[in-house]
């Protein structure tokens, strides 16, 4: 049984249909990539999965439960975490606090919320530091997030998502705006996550997607025009048209 599946998921903004009847299944433990030209509706698709937008129609079944239209914070409690395409961290807070807050949110009980000192949650602090170590930011844990480089902020972005111990991890172009060096590091990092998490990855760098993914869905003008293994996608004529400047709307 897939961990999450969408059924004819649609989102319209006025006359524009950003996501058009997308039906998709993500197997637990797999790395499923979503590719497509700019404006294909990939990020909107993520925003639907995480509750930022309510879908116009269609269903989202996560772990046997329809979550379409649930508010964002409730979706997060189910174990769906995401990283953002445009870096979205807490600039004035330390890296440790950035990650710690993500870990705290997922606690089943919020006892001591307004009274227990935050630094007394030693198991959360330990987990936050471990996650920072995993992305290579352990030494900067005490620095405010606004003081680190763009590349490091991208790593922090990922660390915030990981600290939530997600059941489903949505990565929206984790390597956006990174130098070739930093991109390599990020790709290596995402590879270490493969198999440990169920991952949906939006990425533009086709070679990266081809080598890492278990399955690939291709979006174009809001619709999924192809789905399959990397090898199948590579042979698909329609995908080539979409990418090589064709105006082939389905």
């Amino acid at each position: 049984m897939p961990l999450i599946r969408t059924e004819r998921l649609t989102k319209s903004f006025g006359a524009l249909t950003a996501v058009n009847e997308v039906t998709l299944e993500i197997e637990g433990g797999s790395l499923h990539s979503v590719i497509g030209p700019n404006g294909a509706g990939k990020t909107t698709f993520f925003n639907l999965l995480t509750g930022q937008f309510a879908p116009t129609s269609g269903r989202i079944i996560f772990d046997g439960r329809d979550i379409a239209g649930m508010p964002t914070h409730a979706v997060a409690h189910l174990g769906i975490a995401r990283s953002f395409q445009r870096t979205s961290v807490f600039p004035a807070l330390s890296l440790l606090d950035n990650v710690w807050l993500s870990a705290f949110a997922r606690r089943p009980s919020w006892r001591g919320l307004a009274w227990r000192r935050a630094d007394r949650y030693s198991e959360l602090t330990a987990r936050a530091l471990r996650v920072l170590g995993e992305v290579g930011l352990r030494e900067k844990a005490g620095q405010p997030a606004r003081e680190i480089s763009h590349g490091e902020q991208r790593q922090l972005e990922l660390a915030i998502a990981l600290a939530a111990s997600p059941r489903l991890l949505l990565l929206d172009e984790p390597a956006a705006g990174l130098s070739p060096d930093e991109t390599q590091k990020m790709v290596a990092l995402v590879k270490t996550l493969k198999g440990r998490y169920t991952i949906v990855l939006i990425e533009h760098k086709i070679d990266v997607v081809m080598t890492m993914s278990d399955r690939i869905s291709v979006m174009h003008f809001g619709s999924v025009i192809a789905e399959g293994t990397p090898a199948e996608i590579q042979r698909n004529a329609e995908v080539r048209r979409a990418y090589l400047g064709g105006i082939a709307a389905p």
Partner: protein
């Protein structure tokens, strides 16, 4: 989105100070509590700590959550009227009156907050202001209870635990003790997970939601806690002057606490305390000598906004940082000169 003040504010734990004084703020506070009545008139000294409690409540909203509430007098005044009425007409126990004030502050903040957190930015600010005006005009019209423009005079200051607190210094001691207690409670709140959650909502609300925090609900919690502090301050104020003036629920009063907190430094725990000291001292001492004292206040405000967004707290930290770098440079400059 959060108003700009929140974004500029520094979390208190960040400015690890260079001075021994800043490392021991509790010593400074306790020293000030003991010394203030020696130098300042008792009533003014008492008012400073009352206003500081009021500021602590606002700062949780403005400094930590990034919500500029221009209606804090709603909670302050409501609590003062309700507790004042019960003290005056029903002779309730003073601790019951304080407790009722805290509850009235919290409940009125829950009602107002519930409506306000539905909107953000400018609309949020206008809602806090508009609802404040509603409470103000209710108090203005309801003369049979509130006394309208004349205020509600004749509020007694009953004995506490059998001790007479009518003497100014005795009442000062009570208020100062309650202030220290309030400061300690607020310190616990801002150092708790809630304090961090409010700050992350201030920094980036969509991200906070994506982590699993219901921003509206958390803002409401901040309102209620802040309202409880305002309520306590309101009752203490009524008992200090023996009257609830209509101004206690008016928008000028709401503005004053915002002013004072900004001057002291919003977003740091001790900012509103310093702000209250500056504000009340200026308004009560200088106003006696010079009728145009608000000019000074305006000047202080302009300086803060232009140069020290973090208020006196930031100015203080920057001064010590500057001294530290100068101290480090001076010996090396001397060494250069000998070569």
């Amino acid at each position: 989105m959060s108003p700009a003040w929140g974004e500029e504010a520094q979390p208190s734990n960040q400015s690890q100070s260079h001075s021994t004084v800043l490392n021991r703020p509790w010593l400074v506070i306790l020293g000030a509590v003991v010394l203030l009545p020696v130098f300042v008139r008792h009533a003014i000294a008492t008012e400073i700590w009352i206003f500081a409690i009021f500021g602590l409540g606002l700062n949780l909203l403005m400094g930590y959550t990034g919500l500029l509430s221009f209606g804090q007098a709603t909670f302050f005044g409501s609590a003062a009227y309700v507790a004042g009425y019960l003290l005056k007409h029903h002779g309730v126990n003073v601790f019951v009156a304080l407790l009722i004030g805290i509850v009235v502050g919290a409940v009125s903040a829950a009602v107002v907050g519930y409506l306000c957190v539905q909107r953000s930015g400018l609309y949020f600010i206008m809602l806090t202001f508009a609802l404040n005006q509603m409470f103000y005009f209710t108090a203005y019209q309801w003369t049979s209870v509130t006394g309208g423009e004349d205020g509600m005079p004749g509020i007694p200051r009953p004995p506490m635990l059998g001790l007479d607190v009518r003497a100014p210094l005795a009442y000062y001691t009570v208020v100062a003790a309650l202030f220290v207690l309030s400061l300690w409670v607020m310190k616990r709140v801002v150092e708790s997970p809630l304090g961090k959650i409010l700050q992350c909502i201030r920094e980036n609300e969509p991200r906070a939601a994506a982590l699993g925090y219901d921003a509206a609900r958390m803002k409401l919690v901040a309102f209620v806690v802040g309202g409880a502090f305002s309520g306590l301050a309101g009752v203490l104020y009524a008992m200090l002057f023996g009257i609830v003036p209509l101004e206690a629920i008016g928008f000028v009063f709401s503005g004053n606490v915002v002013f004072a907190t900004l001057i002291g430094g919003s977003g740091s725990l001790y900012g509103p305390v310093i702000g209250s000291f500056v504000f009340i001292w200026l308004s009560e001492s200088v106003s006696a000598m010079w009728a145009r004292w608000p000019l000074l206040l305006g000047l202080a405000f302009v300086i803060v906004v232009l140069f020290f967004r973090g208020g006196v707290v930031e100015a203080w930290a920057r001064f010590w940082a500057w001294r530290a770098t100068r101290g480090r440079r001076a010996p090396s400059a001397g060494a250069d000169a000998t070569h």
